[in-house]
Symmetry: C2
Subunit: 412 residues, 2 copies
């Protein structure tokens, strides 16, 4: 019996990590094992350590060194197991960097490169596959989506967003319980990640138990922010209830484009003379306190939004895995220059179909929160959004626990 | 058969809420049901809405209106179900307020008052019971401990602390995974609650997987903070690893008592002229960036530390319940002017004995993190502390989920 040549696969993770980016990696590894059987060829999977940037320095991870017992921990480990980079490839396809990259690919005898990431990573997939096509390289390159911001176009949603949405909605529900304990007028401002896209802030609406409930106001970067309207909104809500919880995106801005977070710190220096930077919620905290003379506090949810894997969305973990396995299967079947996207089944119960589109349709592009889903003069979101969101939050993925704390996987 | 007079119990919650303060309330209700059988007397339980302050305005909750199906939700609902207040009773026992309070107690024909809270609440228990003794009132008053700060004296630890500690340690473990993804020198500063007591910051040490691991440095308010030593500590750690995670208490201060958070904002105003306030981590972020020219970010964990009930410590929930039931049982057996405390069993596996001490020994006093457990010149904590902490984190208490989000109980 003739032994077939092994198929060599290189997978990288790029951009900011999420709770499920490693679940996609797990999906790739699972599909490799299954495809070995169906194709009758050994499949060897390697990882770029610190993305393309690290790989070019010769940093490569051999997944055969990851034991079978440890592998499933990838499904519940946040952050990028392989490490990540923020690395934009040159627009000029004649740049010598491309030659250098393909030299490395050829030296490593690669057949397939998979890149798990957001807009910039899909741009990388697009450029590398364009270069490969132009230079008649047989390498197949496929992108696997991830981003908590949910701003990738075409795909129904992006792996990483559901778990981040579940985390913020769940936490905001707890913050509401906390905010309502005193019999005093008070405003709690919650700042949610999202510089350009308000999907995650919108997800805070799911924290409401009743229709007229905290969080009572939501501000997204897709609508211009007005400080005066904001004060009016707050005053109106204070007529109805004492404790308000308000959620806002870090990227909210005035109609002239000035970010709220830029409105702080012009004169803000600490006692050492170092400039202070504040978030949008912190800026609004100061404004509200001065204008309304009531108790105000701000909470910046910050990095935990993308690195908490305790009670992540099981739907998200499953879909992230399938995006990974679908990506490898597609490349094995000859596809290249494509990005995996998810399409929601139009009829019946919630379900996802996996498909491919040219990476150029995803790379470097951003999907905003739809204007038609922004309501009440830019201070709320529609029920249609909540219907879209609800199935994404279902199910709890839980890491194994040891000594009362989650067990996460690290490379060494 | 002669029907006995009902025993009337009033229970209040005071101060900042925790993840398990309602579990203590559940403990009180459970003990009431059990004691009805053993004593053969009906026991009627009422709640102060918004603590003593709301009660004096006539706001009272009748627990008979809380259905049997909903009652168990108290075990997993964060925040104060009854509402809370911050209300310090006058030192002068001749103040007419005391007469007014006891008038209300008598009007409501109360036999027992239970107050769930921290230092100030135990001070309230002490004062009210002193007044009762002086004026020969038969009312029995017992305090049930809670505080995420773990700064109540005598008791081994306080309900609320274990769940907050589990939350911060778990989240910091995720933050470490996130912080280590790039191949760049970077410092992540995590600010943890604790103005005077560093217990919660110390708990971040449990996030380490190996001994020499992130978070590499911990700063507690029990040790004077020096900016120069801090810079040196950071520089030394950067020689060993690229990405540092550093945890610090909000209340860290210089040797002259100046709080780090006071070092910002002297000249800090936003473009509207409003003064900006920053946390300690934000101040250190500015200092580090200026002095070391590396990537620095700060994360203030903020309110979620005390209001997250998703994967709370099951040990904490059980103990909080038992503190509540023990408090009522003690009052029923005639005790008054006491606070419930927990004593760790000295031998064998981890276990707690419940006991009473005079509320005066707990009220208004604070238990600092022991100086002998602070190591490495004030930048770390000892293994003895971790041994103390470990059993408190064990087990996961999970709220029921609906539509992918936790179900919490509200009064109406």
């Amino acid at each position: 019996m003739k032994v077939k040549q092994p198929i060599r696969v290189l997978v990288g993770q790029s951009g900011g990590p999420t709770a499920v980016i490693n679940a996609s990696l797990y999906g790739v590894l699972s599909a490799a094992l299954e495809s070995e059987l169906s194709l009758g060829s050994p499949i060897e999977v390697f990882g770029m350590i610190y993305g393309l940037e690290g790989y070019l320095k010769g940093m490569m991870y051999d997944f055969s060194s990851l034991s079978e017992e440890k592998r499933p921990l990838l499904k519940t480990t946040p952050g990028s197991f392989l490490g990540s980079c923020r690395y934009k490839l040159p627009e000029d396809m004649a740049d010598p960097l491309y030659g250098k990259i393909f030299e490395a690919f050829e030296k490593d005898r690669l057949d397939i490169v998979l890149y798990i990431g957001g807009n910039d990573s899909m741009d990388t997939v697009n450029k590398l596959s364009a270069y490969a096509a132009e230079h008649e390289k047989p390498l197949r390159i496929v992108g696997i989506p991830k981003t908590i911001d949910n701003d990738l176009p075409i795909t129904d949603h992006s792996p990483g967003f559901p778990s981040a949405a579940k985390f913020v909605a769940s936490l905001v529900r707890g913050i509401v319980r906390d905010a309502e304990v005193y019999d005093l007028p008070a405003v709690t401002l919650v700042e949610v990640m999202g510089r350009h896209a308000g999907w995650l802030t919108a997800a805070c609406a799911a924290a409401r138990v009743e229709t007229e409930d905290n969080p009572v106001l939501l501000y997204l970067p897709e609508a211009d922010f007005s400080v005066d309207s904001f004060i009016t909104d707050i005053e109106r809500q204070l007529e109805k209830r004492k404790a308000l919880v308000v959620c806002l995106s870090e990227g909210i801005h005035l109609s002239d484009g000035t970010l709220l977070c830029e409105m702080a710190g012009e004169a803000g220096h600490d006692v050492f003379g170092h400039k202070q930077l504040s978030g949008a919620a912190k800026v609004l905290e100061g404004i509200l306190r001065a204008r309304l003379s009531i108790k105000v506090r701000s909470i910046e949810l910050n990095v935990p939004q993308r690195c908490n894997a305790v009670e992540a969305s099981l739907t998200d973990v499953s879909e992230a895995m399938r995006c990974g396995s679908f990506g490898l299967e597609s490349a094995l079947s000859g596809e290249t220059g494509k990005a995996v996207v998810m399409t929601r089944k139009e009829e019946g119960a919630y379900g996802i179909d996996y498909a491919l589109v040219p990476a150029s349709m995803v790379g470097g592009k951003e999907k905003s929160f739809p204007a038609s889903w922004i309501t009440k003069g830019g201070s709320d979101v529609s029920d249609q959004f909540l219907e879209y969101l609800r199935p994404l939050l279902i199910g709890e993925s839980r890491p194994p626990m040891k000594d009362g704390l989650p067990v996460y996987l690290t490379r060494d």
